[in-house]
Symmetry: C2
Subunit: 123 residues, 2 copies
């Protein structure tokens, strides 16, 4: 069965559409990590992490390999890093627009993102 490309794209983006999965990808984009190392860096239950890893694995975005008693994960598609950076750029663009609008209108609506300027990929 052939999936139209726009459907596959949507599915792909939905795979990225979860905070924990984003963090996992960002962390793995820097280096291979064991599950317990991810666990140290992400606030999430072990079983939940395992499930999110499974989602990314099924999508083919990360790979698993065993080393003794631990399991190491790595990004399998480096371009994902570019995608995350592009998303970051767009997001800040959107935020700026909104702030601009707010200034123009003089409206007091807050609610934004963390400011830019963080190093690395910025989580």
């Amino acid at each position: 069965m052939t999936v139209p490309l726009y459907r596959a794209k949507a599915e792909f983006f939905r795979t990225l559409g979860h905070p924990a999965r984003i963090r996992i990808l960002e962390l793995l984009a820097e280096q291979e990590l064991a599950v317990h190392e991810l666990l140290d860096r992400i606030e999430i239950e072990p079983s939940n992490l395992s499930q999110q890893l499974a989602v990314l694995r099924r999508a083919g975005l990360i790979t698993q390999r065993r080393s003794g008693s631990q399991v190491l994960y790595a990004i399998s598609v480096q371009e994902v890093r570019d995608l995350l950076i592009a998303a970051r750029r767009i997001l800040f663009g959107l935020l700026e627009d909104r702030e601009q609008l707010r200034r123009d209108l003089g409206s007091p609506a807050p609610s934004g993102l963390d400011g830019p300027g963080a190093p690395g990929l910025g989580s």
Copy 2:
């Protein structure tokens, strides 16, 4: 209230995670279009289209303007186009890997995307 960036990113990707919304963005990436023109090109109920447009509007990805009795939509963030192209590239990369694997294993599992090589953004 401040939203951590990884959360905002996830939300952003979720916004893209719908076939109709992908098509809308791809079509609008080429030119401004009225709702009924989108309707001609996407197989979807008017009310459903309206809702998907509303989702994209709320996310700040598209803008609306009225012209007589019709409503014209346009992309408000051109970089989205790059993002879609990047996604397309990654998707074909994943597909190739899977095909490679299939050949290596000699397994007969089909199910893929439309082939590459389409012009434009490729829906």
